[in-house]
C-alpha cells in the first residue's frame, strides 16, 4: 500500500465520517419530515365526527372513518387469534422439538415467507376463500394477515425461548417434569414478554398493510361488524380517498393517515419500550 500522509488520511476520515453522519441524519430527517407533514395536514381533518361517523356520500360534508378503525381492529384481531397459536407453537417446535435439516428448512421458509409480497398472499386468500365462497369478507382479510404475521411471531418466539437459559429446562427435566409441562409452565412463562413483543410487532406490521385488503375485505361505506361480509379498513380507506379526484376526500385521507400512523407507532413503541425491558431483566 502506498504511504499516505497523516494529514491526508485525517482529511479523508473526516470526509467519510461526515458523509456517514449526513446519510444517517438524512434518513432520520426524512421520517421527521413525513411525520411532520402528515401531522400538519391530518390534524385539521380530525374531529369528533371524523372519529365517530361513517363516510358520507361525496358532496355531503362531514363523515368519518369510524367504521374503518373498528374494521381494522376486527380484522387484525381475528388474524392474531389465528396466527398466535400456530406461530408460537411453531417457534416451540424450532427450539425444543425440531432437529437437523428439517428444522432449518422450517426456519428458512419462515424467513423467506417474511419477504413474500403481501399482495401475493392476498391473491392466495382470494383463491382459497373469496372465490369458493363467492363473496368478499373480512375473514379472508384476516386469513391473509395471519399469514403475514406468522414469520414475525415464529422468529420472535424462537428468540425469546432461546433467551431462557437452557439449564432451567434441564433442571425441570431432571426433577421429573415431563417435557410438555416444562415448556408450557416454565419456558413459555419466562419467555412471555418476548413473545408478546413479537405478537404486538406483528400486529403493527399488518395494521399498516393495504394491498391484500383490495380483494379480500374489499372495503365498505357502512357499519359492518360481521366478519363474513365485506368490511371497511382504515388503510384501505386512506388509499381509496387518496386516489380519488375529490379534494374533501384528500383531506380525509390525511386525517386517516395520521390515525393510522398513530396506531402503528403506539403498537411499535409499546412493543419496544414497554415490553422489552421486562424481558431483559
Amino acid at each position: 500500500m502506498k504511504a499516505i500522509s497523516l494529514r491526508s488520511r485525517r482529511l479523508r476520515g473526516a470526509v467519510g465520517v461526515f458523509t456517514a453522519g449526513l446519510c444517517a441524519g438524512g434518513v432520520a430527517g426524512i421520517l421527521l419530515l413525513i411525520l411532520g407533514y402528515v401531522i400538519r395536514e391530518g390534524i385539521g381533518a380530525i374531529s369528533i365526527g371524523f372519529l365517530t361517523q361513517v363516510p358520507h356520500p361525496i358532496g355531503v360534508p362531514g363523515g368519518g372513518v369510524a367504521n374503518g378503525i373498528v374494521g381494522s381492529a376486527i380484522i387484525v384481531g381475528i388474524a392474531a387469534l389465528m396466527a398466535i397459536p400456530i406461530g408460537s407453537l411453531t417457534g416451540v417446535y424450532l427450539t425444543h422439538f425440531g432437529r437437523g435439516s428439517f428444522c432449518s428448512a422450517v426456519r428458512f421458509l419462515s424467513d423467506v415467507l417474511s419477504g413474500i409480497p403481501s399482495i401475493a398472499i392476498g391473491l392466495f386468500a382470494y383463491t382459497v376463500l373469496v372465490a369458493p365462497l363467492g363473496h368478499f369478507s373480512a375473514f379472508s382479510a384476516s386469513f391473509a394477515f395471519a399469514i403475514l404475521m406468522l414469520p414475525v411471531i415464529i422468529t420472535t418466539t424462537e428468540n425469546a425461548i432461546r433467551g431462557v437459559p437452557h439449564e432451567v429446562y434441564e433442571a425441570a427435566l431432571a426433577l421429573g417434569v415431563p417435557r410438555h409441562s416444562a415448556i408450557t409452565r416454565i419456558i413459555l412463562p419466562s419467555a412471555r414478554s418476548g413473545i408478546i413483543t413479537g405478537i404486538v410487532l406483528a400486529m403493527a406490521r399488518v395494521t399498516g398493510e393495504t394491498a391484500p385488503l383490495l380483494f379480500t375485505a374489499f372495503g365498505s361505506q357502512f357499519w359492518e361488524l360481521n366478519p363474513n361480509n365485506p368490511m371497511a379498513e382504515l388503510s384501505l380507506q386512506v388509499f381509496t380517498y387518496a386516489i380519488s379526484p375529490y379534494r374533501s376526500w384528500h383531506e380525509q385521507a390525511w386525517g386517516g393517515a395520521l390515525i393510522l400512523i398513530f396506531m402503528v407507532f403506539v403498537l411499535n413503541i409499546g412493543a419496544r419500550v414497554v415490553l422489552k425491558p421486562k424481558f431483559r431483566s
Binding site: G26, H180, A211, F215, N268
Partner: protein, 346 residues
C-alpha cells in the same frame, strides 16, 4: 394443557422423562420468579402426547400454508400459463378486450423502479449503518436507530399519500427539470415530465427500503469482532481507515444480504408504487415517463377482471412475484445466516 382421563401411556411419545412419579414436584426454590412458585402438578401422559401433537400440527399447518401458497397460485394461473406459455414473460401487449396478455411492461417497471431504489438506498443505508455502528456515540445511535426503525414501520399507504401529494409535485417542478437541464442528453432523462413516473416510484421505494439496509448493515458491522478494529488501529489507521480495512470487509456478506433483502421489499411493494408510478403499461427509455409494476397492475385490475383468462393472467403475475421474491429472499437469508451464525451474533 388439558389432561385427558386416558391413563394409557402412549407408545410413541418420545418424552425424555415419563411422568410415572405421582404427586407433586416443586421448582419454587430453583428460580425466583412468581411463575415458578406454583407447584408443578404432574399431568397425565396423554397431555404430553396432545402437546406434542399440537406443536407438530402447528408446524405442519405452517408448512402447508407456505406450500399451499405456491400450489394455489400455480393452479389458479394454469389457464394463463397454458394459453401464453413463456411468451407471457416477453410480450408487451396487455389487452383485456382481445384477451392478449404479456407481462413485459410490468416486469420492466418492477425491475427499473426497484433498481433505482436500491441504487439510492444502498449507499445511503450502508453509510447510515456505518455511522450508527462505528462513528457515533451509543446514545445517539439508539435514538437514530429507533427513528430509522420507525421509518420502516410507517404504513406504505402513508408513503404513497406523501409521494403523491408532496414528492410528485416536487419532482415535477424542481428535481426532474433540474436533471433534464443538466443531463437531458441522456435518454433516461429526456422526454415529457409528469411528476408521477418511474423515477418518483424509485425514490419512494428508496425511502421505504433504506431502514432495512441501515438496520441490517448496522447489525452486521456491530458483529465484526472488536479485535479486528484494534488490530488495524494499532497499525496506525484512523477510525475511517479502520472501518474501510477491518469492519467493511468483515461485514461484506451481511451488507450485501441487507441490500438484497431490501431489493426484495422493493420488488414486491404494492400500494406506494401504485400511487406514484403512473400506471401506464408502456416501456419507455425515460425515467420521467409513467410506468407500471407487477404488483400495481394486480392491485388496480384484479377486482375489475371480467374474464377467466384475465383473472388467471393476473394471478400468474402474482405467481411471478412470488417466485422472484422467494429467490431474492432465499439468497439474502442464506447470506445473512452465514454472517450472523459464524460471528456468534444473534
Amino acid at each position: 394443557m388439558e389432561s385427558s382421563r386416558d391413563n394409557q401411556p402412549s407408545p410413541d411419545s418420545g418424552l425424555p422423562a415419563k411422568p410415572q412419579i405421582g404427586g407433586e414436584a416443586t421448582l419454587a426454590g430453583m428460580v425466583e420468579s412468581p411463575a415458578f412458585e406454583q407447584p408443578v402438578r404432574m399431568p397425565k401422559v396423554a397431555a404430553g402426547t396432545a402437546f406434542d401433537a399440537l406443536v407438530h400440527g402447528s408446524t405442519l399447518v405452517f408448512l402447508a400454508l407456505v406450500l399451499g401458497l405456491f400450489v394455489e397460485l400455480l393452479w389458479s394461473s394454469r389457464q394463463s400459463i397454458s394459453t401464453f406459455g413463456f411468451s407471457f414473460l416477453w410480450t408487451s401487449e396487455w389487452n383485456p378486450v382481445t384477451s392478449k396478455f404479456g407481462a413485459l411492461p410490468f416486469v420492466y417497471g418492477t425491475v427499473v423502479s426497484s433498481a433505482i431504489a436500491i441504487l439510492l438506498a444502498g449507499f445511503t443505508g450502508v453509510m447510515s449503518g456505518a455511522f450508527l455502528a462505528e462513528f457515533c456515540p451509543p446514545r445517539l445511535s439508539q435514538v437514530l436507530g429507533l427513528l430509522i426503525e420507525l421509518l420502516a414501520a410507517v404504513p406504505s399507504v402513508v408513503y404513497g399519500l406523501w409521494g403523491l401529494f408532496v414528492l410528485a409535485p416536487l419532482m415535477r417542478v424542481y428535481i426532474e427539470p433540474f436533471l433534464q437541464s443538466w443531463f437531458g442528453f441522456l435518454p433516461i432523462f429526456s422526454g415529457a415530465i409528469y411528476g408521477v413516473g418511474m423515477l418518483t416510484a424509485g425514490v419512494i421505494l428508496a425511502i421505504m427500503i433504506v431502514p432495512t439496509v441501515t438496520a441490517i448493515s448496522r447489525d452486521a458491522m456491530a458483529a465484526v469482532p472488536q479485535s479486528q478494529r484494534e488490530a488495524v488501529w494499532a497499525l496506525g489507521a484512523t477510525r475511517w481507515q479502520g472501518f474501510r480495512m477491518a469492519v467493511l470487509p468483515g461485514a461484506r456478506a451481511g451488507v450485501f444480504g441487507a441490500c438484497i433483502l431490501a431489493l426484495g421489499r422493493a420488488l414486491g411493494e404494492t400500494i406506494a408504487t401504485t400511487m406514484v408510478i403512473g400506471n401506464r403499461p408502456a416501456i419507455s427509455a425515460s425515467l420521467f415517463a409513467p410506468g407500471y409494476s407487477i404488483s400495481s397492475v394486480i392491485a388496480n385490475e384484479f377486482t375489475e377482471a371480467t374474464t377467466q383468462v384475465y383473472l388467471s393472467a393476473l394471478i400468474e403475475l402474482g405467481l411471478l412475484l412470488f417466485v422472484i421474491s422467494v429467490i431474492v429472499n432465499g439468497v439474502a437469508r442464506l447470506l445473512l445466516w452465514k454472517v450472523f451464525t459464524t460471528t456468534g451474533a444473534q
